[in-house]
């Protein structure tokens, strides 16, 4: 019997109250008659479960019908509620789709939580590539890992499949793909033999490259493809989701390490991933590699000075900044939803209070409290569902914009998108929202209070219900103040970043890349011939003033850091004696608008036969010869001793937000054949007054006529390079500002709604006061007092919250203090304006109350 009682709980309470006793009586009667217990129980359980479900369904249908009717009767309220929910849920869904991709969702590899990335670190640098000897030693000595594998980034010119194309890829150690536990879509993975030096050239294609260049042909395995003038046999195709080391990789070749080809322990170019052994924690692996790298430092004190290991989860490759940025956005979106919920709760509460009489009548007529609460909740859920649906549509529009915030460094193939997972999140959020803003008003308005009928409908001011509503509005003000100030701080930071002088003038400069295949362009003479032909023809174009080639564009490529050796003292990389290296053709400084401060730039006389020279940046001079004339000074850099020929302005090579090493520019001809091939100039920069649409075809024609096999890639304006660098920040500021604006308007709406209600309740009182001779000013003060008091309290809390949030995201603020006065002042003005505009209409209505009408209504 106890079990049956328990089973009856499946029915709605009102049904239980009505028929529970009878059901139990019937149950005991029938049990006495039952011949075989198990069959009886089975029948009874089935009967209860089935019928309970149907009773619930009947109730739901009734409630839905009722909700549809009441909601359609007040379309203004319904539309506001749906829109507010839609904004809240849309914002959260869009932000979640990005956050999920970057921070939450596991990588698409089996047991990906065991995968780590290994780096070297040294004071000032947390993520340095590994040198091959260090990698070999780590691999040999470490016991924490099931396997460890290395790879190197790579890029090649793909020729012979339509227009020549520059494609990114990677050279993978043989153990890498088995370590990730991936299988090819077609063909095979690399075999141990593929790693041998001098073995046959083989390649695996990405799904995308296979589709675009081979039309998805099934017989592609075994065919050959030309990469950088060398024929490679295709041995496999990877599945579409596979993106390693990141989305840019379109082909993979075996990593072949030639000990004669790398410079030793301080030649860092390898990346390494590893799979943690069974039961080994990240901390244990870190501790072990710490010991190993410390003992390697003792063994190789010079090359490995201060060199340690840095082990991070492969999942956590996104930079701390990118993560912080997403967390901030998520917080912002959550704030918006919170405010939306609060606002709706407040709206529903005032509606519920208006309906209190009706509800009391129904309660008096016997509708149970549970039944009424349930009905009101159905109503708020209907609102939430409509809002959630609209919100998902909104997020569809917002996601492509937010996708810019996804760092490209993650081994995740597809960009953020609304998928089932995100939809499930939106669904849960919608339900939670519906319950959150519905439950308090529903419970409040259904509290059994038969006095309500006797006392009439008028509620007194300052009652418990109103206090709750004022608290809700106060919370809205708090959240929106915090959001507005945080957005303001980030906006100030973004302005500050954008105001930074990159050291070059980007307007009117177009850039493109013509990657030169080695060995065809392995010698200086061959390159010189190409550069001379291309540059002379480009400079002959009408409208073009300057053109030059450079190893890498600044900002687009922050690396290229070499040690500086001064006065024969061997350089120690970790002591900051480093500079960024660029080989350039004459005219580079004029093209980029980098000012020559003293001496000369690089010119045509700087041939391979002439004395080796270098042009250095001002910060280089500051570091080494702060009080002397640098021209004519000598230092060793990039494998040769060089004389300073000139000094140019500093360039923010590493991007606007980071400090850059001093820069050294070297004439492109002053390098021995075969040395520093990575630094072969390949980025063409052109300063012109022509629009890009006219310039680009001309450039393509010129490059094709110089060498038809050269692919042209990365065509863009120099300004775009700058914009990309600040893109994530600008997107974040735009989104957060939109959130803040939304939050503020919702809070204003909340104050407006509440005050209007309060005033409408007090009209008789106000009329009486006016009739007794009160001045409109005192009435105005009386009405405003409530609004301003709550706004002030909420505002102060918001300021504290904003300060806390600002402190925790100082890394994003680029020197703007978390207590930046101007921002707080701006925030204060904004909030004050919002509060006052929310108060204005109700306050005016209060002043305009006509005492005679008000009192007549009272009587």
């Amino acid at each position: 019997m106890r079990f049956y009682r328990w089973l009856l709980l499946l029915y709605p309470a009102h049904f239980r109250a009505e028929y529970g006793a009878e059901l139990r009586a019937l149950f005991s009667l029938r049990r006495r008659e039952a011949s075989w217990e198990p069959a009886f129980w089975l029948r009874e359980i089935g009967d209860v479960v089935l019928n309970a479900a149907r009773v619930h369904w009947d109730v739901l249908r009734q409630d839905l019908r009722f909700a549809a009717r009441t909601l359609s009767r007040s379309p203004g309220f319904t539309a506001t509620a749906v829109l507010v929910t839609a904004l809240g849920i849309g914002a959260n869904t869009a932000v979640f789709s990005v956050t999920d991709r970057v921070l939450i969702r596991p990588l698409p590899f089996p047991e990906s939580d065991r995968l780590v990335q290994l780096w070297q670190k040294a004071p000032g640098y947390t993520r340095i590539e590994l040198s091959p000897p260090n990698y070999e030693d780590w691999k040999k000595l470490a016991r924490s890992f099931q396997s460890m594998a290395a790879y190197e980034r790579n890029a090649a010119n793909l020729v012979g499949q339509g227009e020549p194309q520059r494609v990114e890829g990677a050279a993978l150690g043989g153990e890498l793909l088995p370590l990730l536990r991936v299988e090819p879509l077609l063909g095979r993975l690399f075999l141990p033999d593929d790693e041998k030096l001098g073995g046959p050239a083989v390649v695996m294609l990405s799904y995308g490259l296979w589709q675009s260049k081979f039309g998805g042909a099934q017989d592609v395995v075994g065919r050959s493809v030309r990469l950088d003038d060398k024929s490679h046999t295709i041995v496999g195709v990877m599945p579409p989701w596979f993106a390693f080391p990141d989305t840019s990789a379109r082909f993979w070749i075996p990593l072949r390490l030639d000990p004669n080809n790398y410079g030793g322990r301080d030649d860092n170019f390898l990346y390494a991933v590893a799979r943690l052994g069974p039961g080994v924690t990240l901390e244990a692996a870190r501790a072990e590699l710490e010991l190993i790298s410390a003992s390697l430092e003792r063994e190789y004190p010079k090359e490995n000075e201060n060199t340690r290991a840095n082990v991070v989860m492969l999942r956590d490759q996104a930079s701390p900044q990118a993560r912080l940025l997403l967390v901030a956005l998520f917080g912002g979106a959550a704030c918006v939803l919170l405010i939306a919920c609060t606002n709706l709760a407040s709206l529903l509460l005032s509606r519920a209070l208006r309906r209190r009489r009706e509800l009391s009548v129904r309660a008096a007529l016997g509708a149970g409290r549970e039944r009424l609460v349930r009905q009101l909740l159905t109503e708020s859920l209907v609102l939430a569902l409509a809002g959630g649906g609209l919100g998902v549509l909104l997020s569809l529009g917002l996601t492509p914009f937010l996708a810019r915030l996804v760092p490209t460094t993650l081994p995740v193939a597809d960009a953020a998108a609304i998928d089932l997972r995100v939809l499930a999140f939106a669904g849960l959020l919608t339900l939670a929202t519906g319950v959150a803003f519905g439950i308090v008003p529903a419970l409040r308005s259904c509290s059994a209070d038969p006095d309500e009928l006797r006392g009439g409908a008028r509620t007194t001011l300052g009652g418990r219900r109103d206090r709750l509503r004022w608290t809700l509005v106060g919370a809205e003000v708090t959240a929106s103040v915090a959001l507005a100030i945080v957005a303001g701080l980030l906006m100030r930071a973004a302005w500050r970043v954008q105001a930074i002088d990159p050291g070059f003038r980007s307007e009117g400069v177009l850039t493109l890349r013509t990657a030169l295949p080695i060995p065809r362009y392995g010698s200086v003479a061959q390159r010189h011939q190409l550069y001379s032909k291309v540059l002379s023809e480009v400079e002959a174009l009408p409208g073009v003033s300057h053109a030059a080639y450079v190893s890498f564009l600044p900002i687009a490529m922050g690396g290229g850091i070499w040690a500086v050796e001064m006065n024969g003292v061997p350089a120690v990389r970790t002591q900051g004696h480093t500079a960024s290296l660029r080989y350039v053709t004459p005219g580079y400084f004029a093209t980029m608008g980098v000012p020559v401060r003293s001496g000369r730039g690089i010119d045509e006389t700087d041939s391979g036969a002439a004395p080796y020279v270098a042009v250095v940046s001002e910060s280089f001079v500051q570091r080494y010869w702060p009080a002397e004339d640098p021209i004519g000074r000598r230092f060793t850099f990039a494998l040769a001793e060089r004389t300073v020929a000139g000094v140019v302005g500093d360039v923010r090579v590493r991007g606007l937000e980071r400090d850059s090493e001093p820069q050294v520019y070297i004439p492109h001809r002053q390098v021995r054949d075969g040395n520093t091939l990575n630094y072969v100039p390949k980025d063409l920069v052109v300063r012109s007054t022509l629009p890009p649409e006219a310039l680009v075809p001309a450039l393509r024609r010129i490059v094709a006529s110089a060498d038809p096999d050269l692919p042209i890639s990365d065509v863009r304006l120099l300004q775009d390079v700058l914009d990309t660098a600040t893109g994530a920040r600008r997107a974040q500021v735009a989104v957060l500002s939109a959130f803040a604006l939304l939050a503020l308007s919702l809070a204003g709406l909340g104050i407006h709604g509440l005050l209007s209600y309060a005033v409408s309740q007090r009209i008789p009182e106000i009329g009486l006061r006016l009739a007794l001779g009160a001045q409109p000013g005192s009435i105005l003060r009386m009405v405003l007092r409530d609004g301003v008091r709550v706004a002030a309290l909420g505002g102060v809390l918001g300021l504290l919250l904003a300060y806390g949030a600002g402190r925790s995201m100082e890394a994003l603020l680029f020197g703007v203090g978390p207590g930046d006065l101007a921002t707080y002042a701006g925030g204060f003005v904004l909030v004050a304006a919002t509060v006052l505009s929310g108060c204005l209409v109700p306050a005016l209505r209060a002043v305009r109350v006509d005492p005679t009408i008000a009192l007549r209504a009272e009587a």
């Binding site: 029915y11 009878e22 009586a25 019937l26 009667l29 009874e44 089935l50 149907r54 009773v55 129904r362």
Partner: protein
Amino acid sequence: MDIVEVMAPDEDAAPPPLPPAAFHILIALTGGERHGYAILQEIGSRTGGEVKLGAGTLYRTIQRLLEQGLIEETDERPDPALDDERRRYYRITALGAAAARAEAGRLLRLVRLARRSGLVPEKA
């Protein structure tokens, strides 16, 4: 007032076919007022034990029939000494009788249709 609307059945829809359980209950009540258990017994004896309603089905259907005004609860009880006071008694309303008649007619027409198409043999 909203209260009326909540409790009101679908007035605008044409009377839908009665669910079998509802039809059985209406038939059982044509013989007079009964409480829940008696309804089940009546249905059992009329159908020779072929139809056995579960308790949940019984009261869920009763609730709907009450809402639709096809049956009503009675206040008169038999001698309290003879009866458990927990029991509630139901009787069929005029509307209920009409609905049962309409349902019977509907079923009859269906059976005729089936006969005419040779699906069911004519009565011997």
